[in-house]
Symmetry: C2
Subunit: 274 residues, 2 copies
């Protein structure tokens, strides 16, 4: 499996993050599978239930563009989302075959972008019924086109909606992540079109200039170039009433005391994106 | 005016580049305004005419997203394109106000993306008739979304076509640049839709991972992740019969002997994009 980015709360275990949410009055938590595995799946489920938190999403399944479609790992991710009663399982679909996230072309590399995209649809046809049987909602996440080759050949919200179209909206939804879609001239139209397909609204700012590793180009709301107002308004008008997730991959944020991060996050969220 | 990237043939003057094209049997040259200014406008026009070369494009006008719409500089660029008998003047429309290319937010910064895009349309309404009177074709270039904030709020070919739509295709065309549009799920459809609006086809590969400065993330064809076949075929089927420009911003390429670069370019072009 491809390497995952460090967790958003890299300095906190799941137990510490759950406690932190409670301490700061944050009612839901987005979980990463690696952190859940460290804490243990049943232990994590019990922790969040006992704390009265919702699991806003489990991150992440996907990486289904290789020849094997990543089915085994995705079945496991769906089972985990089920056990955690997560509102959705986020799917980062994967880039071109033979490129690992953040890396360059390696063995098995192929430039066949259309083929990679076709395999996402193929994998979804297997995974959507499996998820539906367990009451797990899949959430297709379009990533910024700068990640097209190495992380997600799903590059725009409209493309995610086209992929989701054959399925019921409670079975396959889409993620609206401000960092990934803010530039898209069609984004407000597509959010309106998405309607009840919106499974998650994630916020994080886009830093300019980007740092050397574009994965870490996310900032606290207000530190970048995104005008959150129109996007948040469109998501609300579209009918989304779920949790809003703040997702920031940023070396400085990770180096800051997590309690300070949560306090800043609440303040900035209220000022920009709430 | 915003800073421009170093010229593609950073080590050659216009005179040397013209001689190089002749020596390698390359029938057309794309010129950058800064290089033309160094050589002198009438001298450049005479050089290319005497060498029997076509000027495939003049790069670049644009940067019209600020409050003044950049009209004076764009009028000058149109006059220069006229003097050089360039097949088109490429327009890089500019990013958010108050961000210089490659830089971060500065004085006058605004997150109003919709407003910036509206000013592009407003400037075009002034510039298109001015260009048409001089027989100069404007060419709107969609840039990769990673440059949305600092170089071009025009982020997809479909968006360029929408902007061009009020004008005759010989008056306002569009650039298809492989580096900028390869990821776009709609690109082949939009190329077909563009038809005779295609004013320039530019090729250059997309390197993965991107170097620290994303501006320099272009590579010689075959060194990156782009499958040129389908894009080139679509451009041909759309009816484009103009010159194909190779445009590579890359520190290693610039550091290489230019004669070697041209020889490699011809070989790679024939193998991938031709």
């Amino acid at each position: 499996m491809p390497a995952s980015p460090p967790r958003a709360c890299a300095r906190w275990s799941v137990r510490e993050a759950v406690d932190g949410c409670v301490r700061h009055g944050i009612p839901a938590i987005g979980l990463w599978r690696e952190a859940v595995a460290e804490q243990g799946l049943p232990a994590t489920a019990k922790l969040v239930t006992d704390a009265g938190l919702r699991v806003s999403s489990l991150c992440r399944g996907g990486f289904m563009t290789g020849l094997g479609l990543g089915l085994d790992d995705n079945h496991a991710a769906i089972d985990e989302a089920d056990a955690l009663d997560a509102a959705c399982l986020v799917l980062v679909v994967g880039g071109l075959p033979g490129i690992s996230p953040g890396g360059g072309p390696g063995p098995g590399f192929s430039r066949d972008l259309a083929g990679a995209r076709a395999r996402v649809a193929e994998a979804l046809a297997v995974l959507a019924p499996y998820a539906a049987e367990r009451g797990v909602r899949l959430a297709l996440e379009a990533l910024h086109p700068v990640y097209c080759a190495d992380r997600a050949v799903l590059s725009a919200l409209g493309q995610a909606l086209d992929l989701a179209e054959p399925y019921a909206s409670e079975q396959v939804g889409v993620v609206v992540d401000s960092f990934h879609v803010w530039w898209d001239p069609e984004v407000l139209t597509q959010i309106a079109w998405a309607g009840e397909r919106i499974a998650s609204y994630q916020v994080g700012d886009f830093l300019v200039p980007l740092p050397a590793d574009p994965l870490l180009g996310r900032g606290m709301m207000g530190d970048g170039v995104i005008d959150f107002g129109p996007i948040t308004a469109a998501v609300e008008v579209a009918g989304y009433r779920g949790d809003v997730e703040v997702e920031i991959f940023n070396a400085d944020v990770w180096a800051t005391d997590p309690d300070e991060v949560l306090a800043t996050m609440k303040r900035r969220f209220a000022a920009t994106a709430g």
